[in-house]
């Protein structure tokens, strides 16, 4: 079993990793916000979602966090009337991705906040370790 402070660092690092994966998914969604299909009537890019799960690391005695699943959003696609578009179906409608910019932006802010909180924990643990080492130095 790890020392409590080392376990704290491992936990905070797992949090940083999970949040950065989430950020990657957000940027993937934003980059593909207008990616339509190629063939007439085909489906466009489908929004991806990410879910977290707590994971007990028994060797370290720590409650880590991990990515449980990267799934897809099943909300219906937006449609737009654009007969000249290569992906338009027979009636002239084009399916656009079900990515909502506002939702992605809100998600991005939350990722930012959580990442910052994890980083703050790392800083605090570092200062605690520093204080312990200073005991040896100052005596």
């Amino acid at each position: 079993m790890l020392d409590s402070l080392q376990a704290s660092l491992a936990i905070a690092t797992s949090g940083l990793e999970a949040q950065s994966t989430r950020m990657r998914i957000v940027s993937e969604n934003l980059a593909n916000a207008n990616a339509t299909g190629r063939a007439p009537g085909s489906d466009p890019y489908q929004r991806k979602t990410v879910t977290f799960d707590g994971e007990m690391d028994r060797a370290a005695g720590a409650q880590l966090v991990k990515i449980k699943d990267v799934g897809v959003d099943h909300t219906p696609f937006r449609v737009e009337y654009d007969p000249g578009h290569p992906a338009a179906d027979k009636t002239g409608y084009v399916k656009l991705p079900n990515v909502n910019m506002m939702i992605e932006m809100a998600d991005m802010r939350e990722v930012n906040r959580s990442y910052e909180a994890n980083l703050q924990v790392v800083k605090q643990v570092r200062s605690m370790v520093g204080m312990t080492i200073d005991l040896l130095r100052g005596a």
Partner: protein
């Protein structure tokens, strides 16, 4: 007046603070995990006051388990500032406040240990 085990007391408080820091880290890391319940450790004075059943040491090879190691465990706390729709009861603001508190207490603990050490040294160096 009975003997005061200053270093014993200080080191068990340090261990308690480290454990609290690690539960805070777990709460913060799981701040977006659905259904995760925020946790905290028992207050330090409660651990000191409780007289737990200790294992008797009959041989020097036996390992001493201190009160902190056997009694400090994460408990589900009921005074969380907010619970979101997914059932997650971690409030980042609250965790940050607690983290600052732990840091401050740890710094005080280190300062006290240093002054104990100076006391001992001043006795030795006469």
């Amino acid at each position: 007046m009975g003997p005061l085990y200053l270093f014993e007391l200080a080191s068990s408080q340090a261990r308690w603070l480290e454990l609290r820091q690690s539960t805070i880290a777990a709460n913060v890391a799981n701040a977006n995990t659905p259904g995760f319940k925020a946790r905290d450790v028992e207050p330090f004075n409660k651990i000191l006051d409780a007289a737990p059943v200790r294992l008797a040491l009959t041989s020097p090879a036996h390992i001493q388990l201190s009160a902190v190691d056997s009694d400090t465990r994460a408990t589900t706390k009921k005074d969380s500032w907010d619970v979101v729709h997914s059932g997650n009861s971690v409030s980042l603001e609250q965790e940050m406040t607690k983290g600052g508190e732990v840091n401050r207490d740890y710094s005080m603990n280190a300062a006290i240990v240093r002054s104990f050490h100076r006391m001992l040294l001043s006795g030795v160096k006469v």
